[in-house]
Symmetry: C2
Subunit: 380 residues, 2 copies
């Protein structure tokens, strides 16, 4: 297998882009990634998207976006694995380059959620659960997260403010992030006095609704300046129904995908300098710290409370604000996470820069942890 | 690269499956493919589907189907490239095996269209065109095909009955096909007196609405009995808007994907013994014969009229009835085509068996030819 590098990244700010279409956003991010790479010789294009068929009534994004970029005759398709679509598409792309099937792959994550009413967005997100047995009841993804959140607090003795701290840390990191949707600080009090989204989850513990596109260009690794090497990608799935899992506070897809990824990368957890976690609500961020192997089960929140996950802590986490503060344009989120690792590992993260960032890990979740993708990158 | 084999196939009949869910159909086809292969050791699962997020409001099919099959911890995701989703998913799977990334891949095409009203199906199909500039006008895919159909007749002197013959041949071949939706003969008169779907395309020149699932299990080629070798897969895209193409009677994605595929396979067109073409309406079948290189531009219909594409002709085409008579469960269609080639090349096609079938080609189209996948298989 060949070594694989991220040779270019491109991001749009995450916002409510009323004056741009889904295609506009995808093209903007792609052109930035191509500029950043200095190369426009793409043989494969993967599009990660979740909502376009329901929200924009648009499919065939592979053909549409490649044509808009002026590229014809290539392998171009969409990949969907719920909100882990970005990570899964990146995994396909890495395999294509590593194996020699492709020499230059553009992966675009794009989502335009503000074209829909909030209840339509909730409906779109609920499609990642079984429509016939779960989603039809009207429970939302945050509702399912709330079951985990409450059980976790009762079982492991975490308080509401312990878990709310995950959101507070994210907002601390987002200050100064130019692509973040909510680049400002919030207090624990502000979180705990915000309305209940789904008891015991407060609105300010949830990622919001935003539009955005992120693109990365992958090539064989050549040890060139500003390249970031892909040490490993791995994906996994768990029991689909939350209620059928042996323990709802354990994300098996996260532990199995990360085991695979660490084995492929040939590194240990203490070599990881920073994390980008999938905190669609605070509790998922806390569980992720545990199931990735950075904390014992039931102790993940202590890393957040004691400052280990802060910018100057041992394990800086969600260094541009994570899903909570940077934003969560569903299908694009995994590509934002990977792009942020690249910015950190290149030393180009400006006000968000973490010191001594050499190896980073991104975790992208689909459903309530039913799908998981892990990416490990190393700067040169 | 390793040689790749189809080691098992599984099909459900194409019909209106009122008593089965999308998941039921996917599981039924998968279990048949696993039984047929004699192996249940799957490390990757690709799902080809177009309509589920709009019709069933279900996404995350990768995690859902792998869990229903009792498989956890694997790479499992959905692929969409309009109605070419099946062929594009197969291409990903072949690359994964060839490159050594995977050792056993299950590809499932599944679609349940009868859960929707006919106008919702038309809406779903129109999502493969640009919603902002084309689909919003209300034109359907058959409406776009009709522009090509009329221009082709006027430019190349083909009559309505010349082109209608494509549907007649398909129905001849579907007689005795146990999975076909419409396994009976029709006459040219019957086609030409059926209502206009979109002038000059008659209803009986169009593929219908059906439910179905098809699955194939891929493994490294081992020269075992009943294996069918994948000689090549290739995909391509064309200018997205039909009206912006230099010549609307030429499917550039078909010519470019087939050029790639023949080069990879290292064979010439006269070594192909049978074809499975994407005749979502008759004209697309005719154009495909030309753009694949089996007829000169403007002469494709003559192969149909003179019997060359018939079961006992030189180039048997759509040997189980094609999209017109076997049926067209959108995301599953490409996998039906490939499974049918496998049945022919194994000599297991029963009443549909073509003599001396050794090498076959399947062509799967998305949009109005904006995406194309080509597969070339060889029996042993």
């Amino acid at each position: 297998m060949r070594r694989v590098a991220v040779s270019g990244i491109g991001l749009t700010p995450i916002s409510e882009h009323w004056n741009k279409s889904l295609l506009d956003l995808a093209v903007e991010a792609s052109c930035k990634a191509i500029d950043d790479s200095g190369s426009f010789n793409i043989d494969t294009l993967y599009v990660a998207n979740v909502g376009s068929s329901f929200i924009q009534r648009q499919q065939n994004l592979g053909a549409m976006i490649s044509d808009a970029l002026g590229i014809k005759g290539i392998n171009s398709l969409s990949i969907e694995a719920s909100s882990a679509s970005g990570g899964f598409a990146f995994h396909e792309a890495v395999c294509a380059i590593a194996s020699g099937v492709s020499d230059s792959v553009l992966v675009i994550g794009v989502e335009k959620m503000s074209d829909a009413l909030p209840e339509e967005v909730a409906s779109t997100l609920a499609m990642s659960e079984d429509q016939e047995y779960v989603a039809y009841t009207g429970i939302t993804n945050f509702g399912l997260n709330a079951l985990i959140h409450r059980y976790y607090m009762e079982r492991y003795g975490a308080t509401a403010s312990d878990i709310a701290m995950f959101a507070v840390r994210c907002h601390e990191h987002a200050e100064g992030c130019t692509h973040a949707q909510y680049p400002f600080k919030i207090s624990v009090d502000r979180v705990l006095t915000s309305p209940m989204e789904s008891d015991p989850i407060h609105t300010l513990e949830c990622s919001g609704i935003g539009d955005g596109a992120a693109a990365v260009l992958l090539k064989p690794f050549e040890s060139k300046k500003r390249e970031v090497e892909v040490l490993a990608t791995a994906t996994s799935t768990d029991v689909f129904h939350l209620t059928q899992r042996r323990d709802i506070t354990t994300l098996n897809a996260v532990s199995s995908a990360s085991e695979k990824a660490f084995r492929i990368a040939g590194i240990s957890r203490n070599e990881i300098n920073l994390l980008e976690l999938h905190d669609d609500s605070t509790i998922m961020g806390v569980l992720s710290l545990e199931d990735l192997g950075f904390a014992e089960k039931g102790k993940g929140f202590t890393l957040v409370v004691n400052g280990a996950t802060s910018k100057n802590g041992e394990l800086p986490t969600n260094t541009f604000g994570g899903l909570k503060a940077r934003g969560n344009p569903i299908g694009a989120t995994g590509i934002y996470q990977i792009s942020e690792l690249v910015m950190q590992l290149r030393g180009e993260a400006d006000k968000c820069q973490v010191e001594n960032a050499r190896i980073g890990l991104a975790e992208n979740l689909g459903g309530v942890g039913s799908s998981c993708s892990i990416t490990i990158l190393r700067g040169i």
